[in-house]
């Protein structure tokens, strides 16, 4: 734990950086000829301005980010650099859609469970490929998982133009899944669905398991020092990393399944706007802590929701919105890393 004075320094750094960013964003918008006040107002209103914005915009977007963020955080904690959450998300979404489309007569509860479980399994299988490549052939998972993302994207492209295409064979998407396969929503006027609760549960269980179970301890040890884990702890490192791969893939796959069953109700080519990549930022910003992933996931969800409102209500085009988002991500991560470095030097 860092010294108190260091904490204070860290706390000063972050607000300074963020204040600078807010000013820079304002200047950027002003140069572009946009109404800065209206843009900021839209950003806040669209993300936290009403119960509808919080539930239906922010938390709905946060759900896949929390789950994929958790997947990345757990993997990184064990020293498994799974950059493949995006691909695992996509195969999970495809598998869930396939189940929901082929078994439409199944009772609702069973169908939903089946879709989510199969989605998670598909994600795990996708991650397992990278796990085998790493343990058997020493292929860096950073490379294999990224490559598998592209394979997954093309697989989805093929599916929505081939076997899973909607009946008229005109549009590159699947038919809508039956109502029985759709995750329940919290009321008729909200878009917030059960998946959000599942995401919170997953984080809570992961937090507890990493902290208090033997498996969680092995995960942390392998991440901290694999050779020590092998020699001093007699831990089968390959087995631990393979399991972490599977778990990480399953969480991302579950996120994809939930997105299909809770939000889009069909499989599309561009079903993910890069959740699996944003997940890396979500996980890093949470300092790889499963509980903190909830907060950072919601923060990024709020940014996405606010960005949409900025475009709708303040005419700020999406390009500017993307620049602002990227700036915020960079500033947050930079502030966080800077603090971590100061802490380390203070401890040393």
């Amino acid at each position: 734990m860092p010294a108190v004075s260091e904490l204070r320094m860290g706390r000063l750094l972050a607000p300074t950086l963020i204040a600078a960013l807010v000013v820079a964003t304002g200047v950027l918008l002003a140069i572009g000829g946009y109404d800065v006040g209206r843009a900021a107002e839209a950003l806040v209103n669209g993300s936290v301005g009403s119960w509808y914005a919080i539930g239906s915009a922010t938390l709905v977007r946060a759900t896949p980010l929390i789950l994929t963020g958790l997947a990345v955080a757990l993997a990184f904690r064990a020293g498994v650099f799974n950059i493949g959450a995006e691909g695992q998300f996509l195969v999970g979404a495809a598998a869930a859609a396939a189940i929901a489309l082929t078994l439409p007569k199944t009772p609702s509860l069973i169908l939903i469970l089946l879709a989510l479980v199969v989605g998670a399994i598909a994600g795990a299988v996708w991650a397992w490929i990278a796990a085998v490549l790493r343990s058997r052939f020493h292929v860096l998972e950073v490379i294999s998982t990224i490559m598998l993302n592209f394979v997954a994207a093309f697989l989805v492209s093929y599916l929505v133009r081939g076997p899973l295409q909607e009946p008229t064979h005109v549009y590159p998407q699947t038919e809508s899944i039956v109502a029985a396969a759709q995750l329940p929503r919290f009321g008729p006027t909200t878009r917030l669905h059960l998946g959000f609760v599942l995401a919170l549960l997953a984080c809570a269980v992961a937090w507890w398991a990493v902290r208090y179970t033997a498996a969680g301890f092995r995960l942390r040890v392998v991440g901290a020092n694999p050779s020590a884990a092998r020699s001093a702890g007699k831990i089968d490192v390959d087995r631990v990393t393979t399991r972490v791969f599977l778990l990480s893939g399953a969480l991302s796959g579950l996120a994809g399944a939930i997105e299909v069953c809770g939000v889009t109700y069909a499989l599309y080519e561009n079903i993910s706007p890069g959740y699996g990549y944003t997940a890396i930022a979500v996980a890093l910003l949470a300092r790889l802590d499963p509980a903190a992933v909830i907060a950072t996931g919601i923060l990024f969800g709020a940014l996405e929701a606010g960005a949409g409102a900025m475009q709708r209500d303040a005419n700020v085009p999406s390009v500017v919105v993307s620049v602002i988002e990227a700036g915020i991500i960079l500033a947050l991560v930079a502030a966080d890393r800077a603090r971590a470095m100061r802490t380390r030097s203070a401890v040393a």
Binding site: I18, A40, V44, T264, A295
Partner: protein, 344 residues
């Protein structure tokens, strides 16, 4: 591992943004965009960037024209994922928009889910086929201008072989190519028509391969409807002197002025304005709306640079038929029996 920090970071940024918003609150009320407060509010959702000089750019021009001609308050959003579709349809409905246009067939499922909840808002999806009491699908009558394109191709072809290339065999394309073949046979009953499909809409080199294959068979005029992949057709034609292309969807006469005879152009701004005007007047009937014959929305636009390649008689014939079409007086010959046209 400290859990407090990310939370405090998150709090910091939300607080800072909230402060910014509060500080500017008065200013935001003072400055309003054109026609803000107008009761006629129109929103547009595009699946891609409005800088594409094509599908999305045309839609945005349409939105601006609605603003300028009808005094509407307008809003535009570029959706990134299908999850955005429903949310934005809902937001616009809740904000009391009169007309919400989803620019692409991919929007129709979300529109169908949301439309019943906001009966005062009219939802329209471009090239959609889903309809409801306040939900319409907007499509474009491509057949007549394609017929004229066929006449044009047959009159310019020296080999008696013309081609048609599209991305995939979807119903509107098939209809367009049928009319194209009809138009060509009306001019030259013995003409041969080679049709090929690339398999996708964005692979430029695959588009070029298909065009080269047709050229090798003796085709010397190609009607292309393959979006980005169609650019390869222009490239192939440029490499083979004496080969010409007819473009589709947007005015492609400038893409390759030296080989493009003309383009079947959809005037998206005009289409949107037509719909918006009807919605504003309360005369709009939701359903499958086909804008084609009887309007200027879809027309064959000849390329002035290559005017000399087109026989004068043919040019005036196309002009007069097109004028008939705009007036709603032109009728395509019955589609089923092609041998009848061969005789005519």
């Amino acid at each position: 591992m400290s859990r407090a920090r990310p939370f405090s970071t998150a709090l910091n940024i939300v607080a800072a943004l909230a402060l910014l918003a509060c500080g500017h609150d008065r200013a935001s009320q003072a400055i309003d965009s054109t026609h803000a407060g107008s009761s006629f509010k129109v929103a547009l959702l595009t699946p891609g960037p409005i800088s594409d000089q094509s599908w999305n750019a045309g839609a945005y021009q349409g939105l601006l024209r609605i603003r300028d001609s009808l005094g509407a308050q307008v809003s535009h959003i570029q959706t990134k994922t299908p999850a955005d579709f429903e949310e934005n349809f809902r937001q616009y409905g809740a904000q009391g928009y009169t007309l919400v246009i989803g620019h692409g067939s991919e929007f129709q499922d979300a529109a169908k889910r949301v439309a019943p909840e906001f009966p005062k808002t009219t939802y329209v999806t471009t090239s959609g086929a889903t309809t409801g009491p306040n939900l319409a699908g907007l499509s474009f009558g491509f057949a007549e201008p394609s017929y004229f394109a066929g006449m044009l191709a047959a009159s310019v072809s020296k080999t008696g072989k013309i081609g048609a290339i599209a991305g995939q065999e979807i119903p509107p394309v098939a209809e367009s190519f049928r009319a194209y073949a009809q138009g060509a046979r009306a001019v030259n009953p013995a003409i041969k028509i080679v049709t090929s499909y690339i398999g996708n809409w964005d692979d430029v080199s695959a588009g070029k391969e298909q065009a080269l294959a047709q050229i090798a068979q003796g085709v010397d005029v190609i009607f292309q409807n393959a979006d980005a992949a169609g650019l390869g057709v222009f490239q192939a034609a440029r490499e083979h002197a004496g080969t010409y292309v007819i473009g589709s969807n947007s005015n492609q006469n400038g893409v390759a002025p030296d080989v493009t005879l003309g383009s079947v152009v959809i005037d998206l701004p005009l289409a949107f304005l037509t719909v918006a005007k009807e919605v504003k007047d309360g005369t709009f009937k939701p359903g499958l709306v086909v804008l084609g014959s009887g309007t200027r929305v879809v027309t064959l636009v000849l390329n002035p640079t290559l005017a000399s390649k087109i026989p004068n008689t043919m040019r005036s014939r196309i002009d007069s038929l097109q004028a008939e079409m705009v007036a709603g007086k032109f009728q395509l010959p019955a589609a089923s029996d092609s041998s009848a046209h061969a005789k005519s």
